[in-house]
């Protein structure tokens, strides 16, 4: 079937005895290079100079302190949503609703910040973050319950919930939550200044610490606890896991609550640290890029941090070329989209190796 005839020899794919760790590491790096080459083709075809474009992108994202802190600002929600997607994908639960869960996290946080005025102002921030996480978790929980109870396809439910969440947020900031003194600006009034998540350096804020801590905790849970082992087992072979007495339904719901909480936290951090209000533009697409982050990182929480940083660099670089060269910022999205193709094509070599065999040998096998 998949053999290339080569005189009387042919090339077959042969299953490796164990997954090759080296290849799992090399393939993402090669993929990144290949995607840059493919992106250069797109750029050249649309009449832009690939070399100067890449130069401005790299310099904008990593070439200066201001640019780098901007990249960190964008990396924070990407790390958190990327981790959220990671734990769900480990279970082979295709949660592509990180965007909606992020938006609901932002809504929950804004609700506390604006309406829980009875709280002392020092208490607002921690409680708002917790409520944001809960909101994200519950939003993901709906799809999880539908899947666990009745087996409803989660790709579609999580995705549809994105649109519903985004439209609901839109209703809030255009409607009842709109700042009456905002001159018609689509957004709530600003949160109390004392309750903002403080900055560390430049525009980079404490969300970075939260995101890194989340990565460490998730790594520990996934690789060092019994629960993490159960999650991995369900992902690899659900039937085997069930035979071992693992409760699949409960795990689907629990994992998705954690997944949604992480994405909800991303939204909560974003509104308390960057925008200081719930406003138009909260759906930046982080939740979709998170899928690339998780898969590029091969579902490893630490690798996700690194990949999120690169993806954030592409976004900041995209903004830069828009400002410097008048090119559409969505070039960053094109490059992100291109990343997965070589990666998907290359992962096969971690499970299979190419082998040239003589004709007779194959005939004996089959």
């Amino acid at each position: 079937m998949r053999m290339v005839h080569y005189k009387n020899k042919r090339i077959v794919l042969e299953k490796r005895e164990a997954r090759s760790g080296k290849i799992l590491f090399i393939v993402p790096i090669i993929s990144f290079i290949v995607s840059l080459v493919l992106g250069a083709v797109v750029l050249a075809a649309s009449g832009a100079n690939p070399f100067s474009t890449y130069f401005y992108m790299a310099r904008g994202a990593f070439g200066s302190w201001v640019g780098f802190t901007e990249t960190l600002v964008k990396a924070i929600p990407l790390i958190l949503t990327g981790l959220g997607v990671t734990i769900a994908f480990k279970l082979r639960f295709w949660n592509i609703g990180a965007e909606g869960q992020l938006v609901f996290g932002a809504i929950g946080t804004a609700w506390v910040m604006i309406f829980w005025t009875f709280l002392p102002v020092q208490m607002l921030l921690p409680i708002a973050l917790l409520v944001g996480m809960t909101a994200g978790a519950l939003w993901a929980g709906i799809a999880a319950v539908l899947k666990a109870k009745w087996g409803v396809d989660e790709t579609l439910t999580t995705l549809m919930m994105n649109y519903i969440a985004i439209l609901f947020a839109e209703y809030l900031y255009y409607g009842p939550w709109r700042d009456p003194d905002g001159y018609g600006f689509p957004g709530t009034k600003a949160f109390p200044r004392e309750a903002w998540l403080p900055r560390i350096a430049g525009r980079a804020h404490w969300g970075l610490v939260i995101a890194l801590a989340a990565a460490v905790i998730l790594w520990f849970v996934l690789y060092k606890t019994k629960w993490g082992f159960e999650i991995k087992m369900i992902g690899l072979n659900q039937r085997a896991a069930r035979c071992q007495g693992v409760n699949i339904q409960r795990n689907i719901i629990l994992v998705l609550l954690v997944s949604g909480a992480l994405s909800g936290l991303a939204g909560a951090v974003e509104v308390t640290a960057v925008q200081h209000r719930l406003m138009k533009g909260i759906d930046m697409g982080y939740g979709f890029t998170a899928i690339i982050v998780a898969w590029m990182a091969q579902l490893n929480p630490f690798a996700a941090v690194l990949v999120a940083l690169i993806m954030a660099g592409l976004l900041v670089g995209g903004d830069q070329i828009q400002m410097m060269m008048g090119l559409p910022a969505s070039m960053g999205l094109v490059l992100q989209g291109l990343l997965l193709f070589p990666l998907l094509a290359g992962t096969i070599f971690s499970d299979y190796r190419l082998r040239v065999v003589k004709q007779e040998e194959v005939e004996q096998c089959s």
């Binding site: 087996g151 409803v152 579609l156 649109y163 999205l333 998907l344 992962t347």
Partner: protein, 317 residues
């Protein structure tokens, strides 16, 4: 009476792109390949059709290019999933991410210099409604006979798609590959070849569905022209129970929601626009849940092709 006719006419117009894409995805999934790239392929189909129509004025060339682009993107998916045995869910998602990103980029690059290279706000030649004499005078049913050529074409394509799948040898081959690739291979069918063919054909139909959006339903390019329709299509395939004939009901249902939504918005209601716009997505979740429950009760009638989403190789034991 007039209102019903208008609503029905708009429903059919809105349902056309959905129906083309649904038919395409049904054929792809029947071969056992799940392509979640519909949204991205539709977006690129919409963009390329509009661009070609804008520069050449030829509608035929526009839909040909849209179909080729859709087919080419599906070919990437086929290569990754069939030859490289990649995960079909992730591959489809990456087609969507890539397609929507590229369409957004090109939409701001391919326009005329006078408009800052932007395609938004441009007008191109588009399909116009053509009413059939005499038939257009029948009350209510006249809605069916006051449509553009792509909608009329569906009156033929849907029955052909159904007959091909259930009454021909090739259709049997297609279903065999999706249900039990190992047995199909033992019968001498090249599973990979069949899967490649129907994935690409599916992509071409999805591209055509996209073309109808920018050249028929809402002429003109805007960045969010598909607005999640590609995802609704995936749900419609489940709603249709992978049956090309039944795909009509789903397309009419969702086209109808669109039509009513516009009607209510134009009339001005107390329901905020955001909630009206939520309707298709909420209905999708509900429909999906109901269909899943039905599928569990009546096995076979509404259940997916058995090998959907799995890779196949003759060498695997």
């Amino acid at each position: 009476m007039q209102l019903i006719t208008t609503l029905l006419a708009v429903t059919l117009g809105a349902g056309t792109s959905l129906l083309y894409a649904t038919l395409g995805e049904i054929y792809t999934e029947r071969a056992g390949i799940l392509n979640l790239g519909v949204e991205g392929m539709m977006m690129m189909g919409a963009l390329s059709a509009f661009t070609v129509s804008f520069y050449t004025g030829s509608l035929i060339l526009a839909i040909v290019v849209a179909m080729l682009i859709g087919g080419a993107m599906a070919l990437i998916h086929a290569f990754l999933c069939i030859t490289m045995r990649a995960n079909q869910v992730v591959s489809g998602l990456s087609i969507t991410l890539f397609g929507t990103g590229l369409a957004s980029y090109l939409g701001q690059r391919l326009g005329p210099a006078s408009n800052g290279k932007n395609l938004v706000g441009m007008t191109a030649s588009s399909f116009t409604d053509y009413s059939i004499p005499f038939l257009e005078d029948i009350p209510i049913l006249s809605a069916f006979f006051n449509q553009d050529i792509l909608t009329y074409a569906l009156f033929l394509i849907v029955p052909i798609a159904w007959i091909y799948m259930y009454k021909t040898r090739s259709g049997l081959t297609l279903r065999a590959v999706g249900e039990d690739p190992r047995t199909a291979a033992a019968m001498g069918i090249s599973v990979s070849k069949v899967r490649y063919i129907y994935t690409v054909i599916g992509g071409m139909l999805v591209g055509l569905g996209g073309a109808h959006l920018t050249l028929g339903y809402t002429p003109g390019w805007s960045e969010n022209v598909t607005g999640g329709r590609g995802w609704i299509v995936i749900a419609l395939v489940i709603f249709a129970g992978w049956n090309p004939g039944r795909a009509i009901f789903g397309a009419v249902l969702f086209g109808g929601i669109n039509a009513i939504q516009f009607r209510l918005q134009a009339a001005g209601t107390v329901i905020p626009a955001s909630f009206l716009n939520m309707a298709p997505y909420i209905v999708t979740v509900i429909v999906l849940t109901v269909m899943t429950l039905l599928g569990r009760k009546k096995r076979g009638k509404f259940s997916p092709p058995a090998a959907l989403g799995t890779s196949f190789s003759i060498e695997d034991k």
